[in-house]
């Protein structure tokens, strides 16, 4: 099964690399959101670092919603989804492959956005990098676990593309809260302080990766 | 204390009104559907 997952991951990433324009758009959107939030909040220089976690995660969530939809839309437009389903890949493998792809895409976007937030909001993100990377990974995993499942629903009809954020946002609140609180704690005092928030993220990830594996088949059937 | 009575009244009115409106909506929809069923059945038989 894991060979299948890697195969899907490699294929998807190769497609993303070839269509660099849309990947670039995805990253630029993240950057833009950070700038817009910073301008709208307009904090005094002393207050700015306090806002960094919130700005980060709000930007990630919105960028992520727009970007992950593309992954499936791309396939529908080339009618590749039919091809993929015709091959004997089981839905669980397909789901995990797509999940991995989405996590990588999020990480690529965050690689640019996180340093940017550090610069714009004067937050010392570099000193806590390992802890921060763990928080980001857990958050990405949680976000992508549900987003991958729901994005497959938009393959069938137009109205649902608008619906994706509407359906996903309330479900993703724990990821948002956990991510922000964990990032805050990490910036203040390293790992220990983040225990509660990390627990939330880990629990979310565990529940919804399993749920995704079990339910994905229902979403791509027919 | 007596102006808090207003809040108490508002809350319970909201609950009863909400329930009443929902039941009324369901009853109405039910009648429309039953009529449509009768109408469709007639058209199929003819």
């Amino acid at each position: 099964m894991w060979r299948g997952v890697l195969a899907i991951l490699r294929k998807d990433l190769r497609i993303e690399w070839r269509t660099k324009e849309s990947l670039a758009g995805f990253v630029v959107l993240g950057v833009l959101l950070v700038v817009i939030f910073s301008v709208a909040l307009d904090p005094a220089p002393a207050d700015a670092p306090r806002l960094a976690p919130s700005v980060l995660w709000a930007a990630f969530v919105f960028t992520g919603l727009l970007g992950i939809q593309r992954g499936f839309v791309l396939e529908r437009e080339n009618d590749c989804l039919g091809g993929v389903l015709a091959s004997p890949i089981d839905p669980a493998t397909l789901y995990l492959g797509k999940l991995a792809t989405n996590i990588v895409l999020l990480a690529v976007m965050q690689a640019l956005v996180v340093p940017l937030v550090g610069v714009l909001l004067h937050a010392q993100l570099g000193t806590v990098l390992p802890a921060l990377l763990l928080v980001l990974f857990l958050g990405n995993l949680g976000f992508a676990s549900l987003a991958t499942l729901f994005a497959a629903m938009t393959v069938r009809a137009r109205a649902r593309e608008v619906m994706l954020p509407v359906l996903l946002l309330p479900l993703l609140v724990p990821v948002l809260i956990g991510g922000v609180k964990a990032t805050e704690a990490v910036l203040r005092g390293g790992f220990g302080a983040a225990a509660g928030a990390l627990g939330v993220l880990v629990a979310f990830d565990a529940i919804f990766v399993v749920a995704g594996v079990l339910l994905f088949e229902q979403v791509i059937r027919d | 204390m007596s102006d808090n009575l207003g809040y108490l009244f508002a809350a319970y009115t909201a609950v009863w009104l909400g329930i009443f409106l929902y039941v009324r909506r369901l009853a109405r929809r039910g009648r429309e559907l039953e009529e449509e069923i009768r109408d469709l059945r007639r058209r199929i038989e003819s």
């Binding site: 549900l146 499942l149 729901f150 629903m153 069938r156 009809a157 109205a159 649902r160 619906m163 509407v166 359906l167 946002l169 309330p170 479900l171 609140v173 724990p174 809260i177 956990g178 609180k181 509660g196 928030a197 627990g199 939330v200 629990a203 979310f204 529940i207 919804f208 749920a211 339910l215 229902q218 979403v219 059937r221 027919d222 | 204390m1 102006d3 808090n4 009575l5 809040y7 108490l8 508002a10 809350a11 319970y12 909201a14 609950v15 909400g18 329930i19 929902y22 039941v23 369901l26 929809r29 039910g30 559907l33 039953e34 449509e36 069923i37 469709l40 059945r41 058209r43 199929i44």
Partner: protein, 227 residues
């Protein structure tokens, strides 16, 4: 059986009126919050009823996905609608209660926050079913959403505790845990809860019937095309 079905709505009404009488006439006034505290006796049962409805949505959705039962699908849809109704009532009575007690219409305390999120999740479910189109797949998508929503409940509950809420001391009062001094208060709460539960059951049954009629209409329409 049909006698039971005919009597049930009256039983619901009687029980609701009994509860209302207990709440307005019998139960003693709570010491700290005064008469406004009586809102609690519908506010909390409505929340419990909403939760139960959402659990039914998840269960019925699971049955639909793994057995293909259309009746289960109709039950899920009906339960979601009634659940959102109860959730709305919680979100309306909550602020009405909060305003005289704490001077604000809204607080981001864990319970209210969770109720808003839950409302949004299942309002989304209803929107998906209403606007997702006539495609067969929509029912399956909604079922997935119904299950995911319930799975999210424990995580949401834990995560909102991480937010700044209203002052804890006031919070315990609102939860009613330390506030229910008189045994009559407990009894009133239980009677009101039973009344809400049965009311919910009746509303779901009505809504399921509507769903069945809609299915019949759809079937007849298809038959008409082939005639």
């Amino acid at each position: 059986m049909p006698l039971l079905a005919a009597l049930f709505p009256w039983a619901v009404l009687v029980l609701m009126l009994v509860a209302q009488w207990l709440i307005f006439v019998v139960v003693p006034t709570e010491a700290q919050m005064g008469i406004v505290q009586r809102i609690f006796y519908f506010h909390v049962p409505a929340a419990w009823a909403a939760f139960l409805c959402f659990f039914v949505v998840a269960g019925a959705s699971a049955v639909y996905l793994w057995r293909g039962s259309r009746a289960a699908d109709r039950l899920a849809h009906a339960s979601a609608e009634v659940g959102v109704l109860f959730c709305t009532l919680v979100l309306v009575t909550g602020p009405i209660w909060a305003r005289p007690i704490w001077g604000v219409w809204w607080t981001w305390d864990p319970r209210l926050t969770m109720t808003v999120i839950l409302w949004a999740i299942y309002a989304g479910y209803l929107m998906l079913r209403a606007f997702g189109g006539a495609d067969e797949a929509v029912a399956r998508y909604a079922a997935v959403l119904g299950i995911v929503g319930v799975l999210d409940i424990p995580v949401i509950r834990v995560s909102v505790r991480l937010l700044h809420g209203i002052h804890p001391a006031v919070l315990t009062n609102k939860e009613g845990g330390s506030g229910l001094t008189d045994p009559m208060m407990r009894t009133t709460l239980y009677v009101a809860s039973l009344a809400m539960l049965l009311l919910g059951g009746w509303l779901v049954a009505l809504r399921v019937r509507t769903g069945r009629l809609e299915a019949e209409v759809a079937g007849l329409r298809r038959e008409l095309e082939h005639v």
